[in-house]
C-alpha cells in the first residue's frame, strides 16, 4: 500500500510521519513515534485506554486513521507535564491512589483533563460520565473520582495562572 506523509502537531511539536493510510493514529503514535504512553486495550474503541486529545477533545486513537490527524493538534499523556511539573490531574492520581496497575491511567487522565478544560467544577455524576468510556479493572473507580475532584479544585485555584501560561504558549 502506498505510504503517505501525515503532518500534525504532537504534544506541541510539528511532526511528519510516513505511514500506510490504513494505520490508526494509535499505531503511529506507538510504533512510529515511540510514544508508548498511549495504551491499546481493545482496538475497537470500547475500553478508552488509547484516549488522546485531538484539538483538545478526547478521542479513541485506535479508531482514528492516522491521515485523519492531518493538520490537527494531538496531545498524549506524555505531553501533559510542563517544565517538569505534573498536570494537576496527574498529581492527584498519584496522591489519591487513583491508579493501580496503571494501564488505563493514561487514557483515564486524558478524559479527565478534557473534562476539566471545559468544566472546572464538575459534579460527581459529571466526572463519572466523563470517564465512563474508560474502563478500569483495578480501582473500582472510587479513588479515580476522588482524584479528579481534587484536581478540579487545584485547576480552579490556579485558573488565572494557567490561562496566562496557555496564552504565552
Amino acid at each position: 500500500m502506498a505510504k503517505l506523509v501525515v503532518s500534525f502537531e504532537v504534544n506541541g511539536v510539528a511532526t511528519d510521519v510516513l505511514t500506510e493510510p490504513n494505520r490508526s493514529l494509535l499505531e503511529v503514535l506507538r510504533d512510529s513515534l515511540e510514544l508508548t504512553g498511549t495504551k491499546e486495550g481493545c482496538g475497537t474503541g470500547d475500553c478508552g485506554a488509547c484516549t488522546v486529545l485531538l484539538d483538545g477533545r478526547p478521542v479513541t486513537s485506535c479508531l482514528l486513521l492516522a491521515p485523519e490527524a492531518e493538520g490537527r493538534r494531538v496531545t498524549t499523556v506524555e505531553g501533559l507535564a510542563r517544565h517538569g511539573k505534573l498536570h494537576p490531574v496527574q498529581q492527584t492520581f498519584v496522591e489519591q491512589g487513583g491508579l493501580q496497575c496503571g494501564i488505563c491511567t493514561p487514557g483515564m487522565i486524558m478524559s479527565a483533563v478534557a473534562l476539566l478544560e471545559r468544566n472546572p467544577q464538575p459534579s460527581e455524576d459529571e466526572i463519572r460520565y466523563a470517564i465512563a468510556g474508560n474502563l478500569c479493572r483495578c480501582t473500582g473507580y472510587d479513588k479515580i473520582v476522588r482524584a479528579v475532584e481534587a484536581a478540579a479544585g487545584r485547576v480552579r485555584e490556579s485558573q488565572g495562572v494557567d490561562a496566562e501560561s496557555v496564552e504565552a504558549k
Binding site: 500506510e20 506507538r30 510514544l35 508508548t36 504512553g37 498511549t38 495504551k39 491499546e40 486495550g41 481493545c42 482496538g43 475497537t44 470500547d46 475500553c47 485506554a49 498524549t76 499523556v77 506524555e78 501533559l80 507535564a81 505534573l86 496527574q90 492520581f93 498519584v94 496522591e95 489519591q96 491512589g97 491508579l99 493501580q100 496497575c101 496503571g102 494501564i103 488505563c104 491511567t105 493514561p106 487522565i109 466526572i127 463519572r128 460520565y129 470517564i131 465512563a132 468510556g133 474508560n134 474502563l135 478500569c136 479493572r137 483495578c138 480501582t139 473500582g140 473507580y141 472510587d142 479513588k143 479515580i144 473520582v145
Partner: protein, 826 residues
C-alpha cells in the same frame, strides 16, 4: 557477608497501645506512580527489539473439530514471512532447541501447556491452530489467511450436565475421573471428583427445624485485565532466550518455557514488564512458550500481542458452575447439616481445582455434619484459569445465597445468623485445615453495628424503582509460598530493595514501607528494584494474596538483617560491644556514652571499604502459617420495576486486613474487588451459540462495569493481626470479590421479592423470577444419576480386584487447592 543471627519475624504485639510506627500505616504515594501518570512505565507491549518480527496465531473457527490437514505452503511463500508453525512442527522445533527430540506422543496428552497449538483436533473455539512470524502485523495476518486447514467438524459439548451424562461425546480421549481413591478406568468428561465429609449428615438433617434446598448457577466470566497479553522473545547467539512479558511471575515463566523447550532454566532469562492487570490470569503462560518457539524458528526477535477478541475467546476465563446446596438448621439458626454438589465447567483441558470453591464457599461456617462433592467437568470451551479468589465468588454465591434464604425463612437477621455459625480459631474448614487466629467474628460485629446495616433502607432515588439491601460474607485462605529479598545499603545510608516479585498493584510501595520502617529511614530513601530472573532473588508468582504476607516476610527479614549488620558495623567502628550500641532513625550511639555516635550514612560509607564490607541484608521465606482473610459486604440496589434492571447504588465493605500497611492500597484492592463482583453479578457473561462460538468477544458486548455502574464504596478496615508474617498483615486482594454476587442477589430480593439464583442477575431474569414466584432453577440431579463413580466405588472395585493400595496422587488432591495460587497449570 557476615553471618549473623537473623531474628525471627515477630508477631504483631497485641497491646492496648499500638506500637509507634513511622511508615507502616501511612498513605504514602506509589513508588512508580509518577512513571505511570506520565506514560513512561513500560508494559508488555511497549518493548521492541531491532529486527523484530510480529507473531500471530490462527484461531480455530470450530469448538470441536478434527484437523484433517493443514497446508502452510502458501503462507510460507509470502516474502517477509519468517516462520509458520503448526502443532505437528512443535516436536521438531523443540528437538532443535534442546537436542533431545521429544516423542510425538508426548504432545498427545490432554494438557493445554503441551498443546500450545492444537494437536490433531481443536477442542475449543479460538484455540490456536498455527502460529506465524512476519515482518509486519499486516503481513502476519496475510500469512494466517493463506493457511489452509481442512476440518472435520463435530457437535461440541457445551453444558456441564450434558457432558456428565451417559453417552456424552468425550471432549478429550485420555481423561479418567480422578478421585481420592485413584482414577476410574473409564474415560469420562468428569476430570475430577472431590468428596469431603464430616459427621453424620442424616442425623444432622433429622435434627434440623428448617431445610433450605436450592440450585445456583453462574456464568463463565473473564478476568478482564485491560492489558492484553503481550510477549517479546529473542534467541541469542549464546543459546539463551530472553523473554520480555506481561506476567504475574517471571520465575514461573522461566520454568514453563525451559520445561516446554526441554532446556535448563539457565538458558532462559525473563524480564517481567509492568503488568496491566492480571487477576490470576497472567499466572499461567499464554504467549511465552510459543513466542520463544517462533523466535527460534524465525531466527529473529518476535513480538506477540493478543487482540481483545483473542483474550476473551482463548485465554483462561473463570469457570461457570452449577451448584446444589441443601442446608439444615435449628430454629435459632445453628446449622446442623449440609449436603452440596458443586459442578465446575473447567473447559477443554483438566485443571482448576474444585476444592477451592468448596473451602471458600463453606469455609466461614461451622458445619458439624456435611457431605460435599465437587466435580471438574470438561466441555468444548476454553480451559479455565485463576480469577481473584479462584472459584470463591461462585461458591459463596451458592452458600451465602442459601444462608440468606435460611435467614428469611427463620425470621433471623442475616448477620445474627452468621454470627451464630461463624468459625473461630481452632475450627476447621471443609478440608479439615484448622484456622489460626481469624477475624470473622470481628468483621460481623462491625457490620452489626454499622449504619449501613442498622439504618432503615432509604427510599428509592427515582420513581418506578425499588430499593433493597443485602449482605454476604467471603473468605480466602491466604497465599503462601517462597519469596526472597535483598536490601542493599548504599553509601549514603539509603536502601535499594531487590525482589523478584511482580508488582500487580502496589507491591513495591508496601514493601518499601516495610524496609523504611525497619531501617527507620524516610520512605523516600528506599528504592525498589525488580530485575530479571538472572539477577533477582527467587519468588513464586504474585497471586493468591500471597505477596504482602509472604514477600513482606522476606523483605521484613532482609531489612532486619540489614539493620542488625549495620549495628555490628557501627559497633566495630565505635569500638563498643554490639549490644551496647543503640540505633534510632539514622543515628547510632553507645548507650553508656551517647556522645560517641555515628550516623547511618557514616556507618554505611565506612562499611563499604572496610571490615566485613558493604551491607546486604537478605531474607527468605518458604512457608508461613496461612492467614485467612474474611470480609462482609452490605450492598444496596435499586431495581427498575418495569425492566427489572438492577443498579448497585451503595456498597459498604468490611474486611479484616490484619494490618493496613498502606490503607489507600487496601481500600483500592477492596473497591476494585467490589466492582468486579458487580460485573460478575449483573452484566458479565460468556454467551455461546449452539456451535460453541463465543458470541460476545468484545468489550462492547462483554459488559464490564464503567464508572457509571459503580457506586461509592465505603471501606471499613478491621485489623485482627495474623498469627504469622510481619505486623499481623493478611492478604487483601482476593477476598473482596467473594461476597458481592450473593449480597447483590439478596438486595434484589429485598427490593422486589425476586429470587434470582443465576448469574448474571439480568433484568430479564428478575422479571422471570417475579412472574414465576421462584428462582426457576431446575435442581441438580444426584450423582447417582450420572455415570460417575465415587471414590468409595473406585476403592471398592480396587479391593474386589485385589489390587494394591490406591495409586499415588490421591493424597495430593487434598492439598492441591491449598497451593499458593489455585492454578494448576499442566
Amino acid at each position: 557477608m557476615a553471618i549473623v543471627d537473623r531474628p525471627e519475624t515477630t508477631t504483631a504485639p497485641q497491646t492496648d497501645a499500638p506500637p509507634q510506627r513511622l511508615v507502616i500505616g501511612q498513605r504514602v504515594a506509589k513508588i512508580e506512580g509518577v512513571d505511570k501518570v506520565i506514560g513512561k512505565a513500560q508494559y508488555g507491549a511497549d518493548v521492541s527489539r531491532p529486527g523484530m518480527l510480529w507473531g500471530k496465531l490462527l484461531p480455530s473457527p470450530y469448538a470441536n473439530a478434527t484437523i484433517k490437514s493443514i497446508d502452510t505452503s502458501r503462507a510460507r511463500a509470502i516474502p517477509g514471512v519468517y516462520a509458520v508453525l503448526t502443532g505437528e512442527d512443535l516436536p521438531r522445533v523443540v528437538g532443535q532447541v534442546s537436542d533431545t527430540a521429544p516423542a510425538p506422543d508426548e504432545f498427545d496428552v490432554p494438557s493445554r501447556g503441551k498443546q500450545l497449538l492444537a494437536w490433531k483436533k481443536a477442542v475449543f473455539y479460538g484455540q490456536p491452530v498455527a502460529a506465524v512470524a512476519a515482518l509486519t502485523p499486516a503481513l502476519a495476518e496475510e500469512a494466517l489467511a493463506a493457511i489452509e486447514v481442512e476440518y472435520d467438524v463435530h457437535q461440541p459439548v457445551l453444558d456441564v450436565l450434558d457432558a456428565m451424562g451417559e453417552g456424552a461425546p468425550l471432549v478429550q480421549e485420555g481423561v479418567f475421573t480422578e478421585t481420592f481413591a485413584g482414577k476410574d478406568e473409564r474415560a469420562s468428561n468428569v476430570a475430577k471428583l472431590t468428596e469431603l465429609s464430616r459427621g453424620d449428615v442424616a442425623a444432622g438433617f433429622a435434627a434440623a427445624d428448617e431445610v433450605v434446598e436450592q440450585t445456583f448457577r453462574t456464568a463463565m466470566v473473564h478476568q478482564g485485565y485491560i492489558e492484553p497479553q503481550a510477549t517479546l522473545a529473542e534467541y541469542g547467539p549464546d543459546g539463551r532466550f530472553t523473554i520480555w512479558t506481561s506476567t504475574q511471575g517471571q520465575f514461573g515463566v522461566r520454568s514453563g518455557v525451559a520445561g516446554f523447550l526441554k532446556i535448563p532454566p539457565r538458558r532462559v532469562r525473563v524480564v517481567a514488564m509492568e503488568i496491566g492487570g492480571g487477576f490470576g490470569a497472567k499466572g499461567a503462560q499464554t504467549l511465552e512458550p510459543i513466542c520463544a518457539v517462533l523466535a527460534f524458528a524465525a531466527g529473529r526477535p518476535v513480538k506477540m500481542q493478543l487482540s481483545r477478541s483473542e483474550v476473551l475467546r482463548a485465554t483462561r476465563p473463570a469457570p461457570d458452575a452449577v451448584m446444589h446446596v441443601k442446608l439444615g438448621a435449628r430454629r435459632d439458626g445453628e446449622i446442623t447439616a449440609v449436603e452440596a454438589r458443586f459442578i465446575w465447567d473447567v473447559g477443554a483441558y483438566p485443571g482448576g481445582g474444585s476444592t477451592g470453591g468448596i473451602n471458600t464457599g463453606f469455609g466461614p461456617w461451622r458445619l458439624p455434619n456435611f457431605h460435599i462433592e465437587g466435580l471438574d467437568v470438561l466441555t468444548n470451551r476454553p480451559s479455565i484459569g485463576a480469577y481473584r479468589a479462584p472459584n470463591g465468588p461462585q461458591g459463596a454465591f451458592a452458600v451465602e445465597g442459601a444462608l440468606n434464604i435460611l435467614a428469611d425463612r427463620l425470621g433471623l437477621d442475616a448477620v445474627e445468623l452468621r454470627l451464630k455459625n461463624a468459625v473461630v480459631e481452632g475450627d476447621r474448614n471443609p478440608s479439615e485445615v484448622p484456622y489460626p487466629r481469624i477475624g470473622l467474628r470481628q468483621v460481623l460485629e462491625t457490620v452489626q453495628g454499622h449504619p449501613a446495616w442498622t439504618e432503615p433502607v432509604p427510599a428509592p432515588s427515582r420513581p418506578g424503582w425499588l430499593r433493597g439491601r443485602g449482605m454476604g460474607v467471603g473468605t480466602w485462605g491466604g497465599g503462601v509460598g517462597t519469596s526472597t529479598a535483598h536490601v542493599n545499603i548504599n553509601e549514603d545510608g539509603s536502601a535499594v530493595m531487590v525482589t523478584g516479585a511482580v508488582d500487580l498493584a502496589g507491591t513495591r510501595t508496601t514493601m518499601a514501607q516495610i524496609v523504611a520502617e525497619e531501617l527507620q529511614i524516610p520512605y523516600e530513601r528506599v528504592a525498589a528494584s525488580q530485575p530479571d530472573t538472572d539477577t533477582a532473588p527467587f519468588n513464586n508468582p504474585t497471586g493468591g494474596s500471597r505477596i504482602t504476607y509472604s514477600l513482606g516476610t522476606a523483605v521484613h527479614r532482609a531489612a532486619v538483617d540489614a539493620r542488625t549488620q549495620l549495628k555490628q558495623r557501627a559497633a566495630q567502628q565505635l569500638k563498643a560491644p554490639p549490644d551496647e550500641v543503640e540505633y534510632r532513625q539514622g543515628q547510632f550511639w553507645v548507650r553508656s556514652d551517647p556522645d560517641q555516635s555515628l550516623t547511618l550514612a557514616q556507618v554505611a560509607r565506612a562499611a563499604i571499604g572496610s571490615g566485613d564490607g558493604p551491607v546486604i541484608g537478605t531474607g527468605e521465606v518458604t512457608h508461613l502459617l496461612r492467614a485467612p482473610a474474611f470480609a462482609a459486604q452490605v450492598i444496596e440496589v435499586e431495581v427498575d420495576q418495569e425492566t427489572g434492571l438492577v443498579q448497585v447504588v451503595k456498597a459498604t465493605a468490611v474486611q479484616d486486613v490484619g494490618c493496613a500497611i498502606n490503607p489507600t492500597a487496601c481500600e483500592g484492592q477492596i473497591q476494585g474487588g467490589v466492582v468486579q463482583a458487580i460485573g460478575w453479578a449483573l452484566t458479565e457473561e460468556y454467551v455461546y451459540d449452539d456451535h460453541g462460538r463465543l458470541r460476545n468477544p468484545s468489550l462492547l458486548d462483554y459488559r464490564m462495569p464503567t464508572a457509571l455502574d459503580a457506586p461509592n464504596i465505603e471501606c471499613v478496615l478491621v485489623e485482627v493481626p495474623a498469627a504469622d508474617g510481619p505486623y499481623g498483615v493478611r492478604g487483601t486482594g482476593e477476598v473482596p470479590i467473594v461476597p458481592g454476587p450473593a449480597a447483590i442477589a439478596a438486595a434484589v430480593y429485598d427490593a422486589v421479592g425476586a429470587r434470582v439464583n443465576q448469574l448474571p442477575v439480568s433484568g430479564e431474569r428478575v422479571l422471570d423470577a417475579l412472574a414465576e414466584g421462584g428462582s426457576g432453577m431446575a435442581a441438580v440431579p444426584a450423582l447417582s444419576s450420572f455415570p460417575v463413580r465415587s471414590a468409595a466405588d473406585i476403592a471398592r472395585q480396587a479391593v474386589l480386584r485385589s489390587q494394591a493400595a490406591p495409586p499415588a496422587g490421591g493424597e495430593k488432591l487434598a492439598v492441591e487447592s491449598e497451593d499458593y495460587c489455585a492454578e494448576d497449570d499442566a
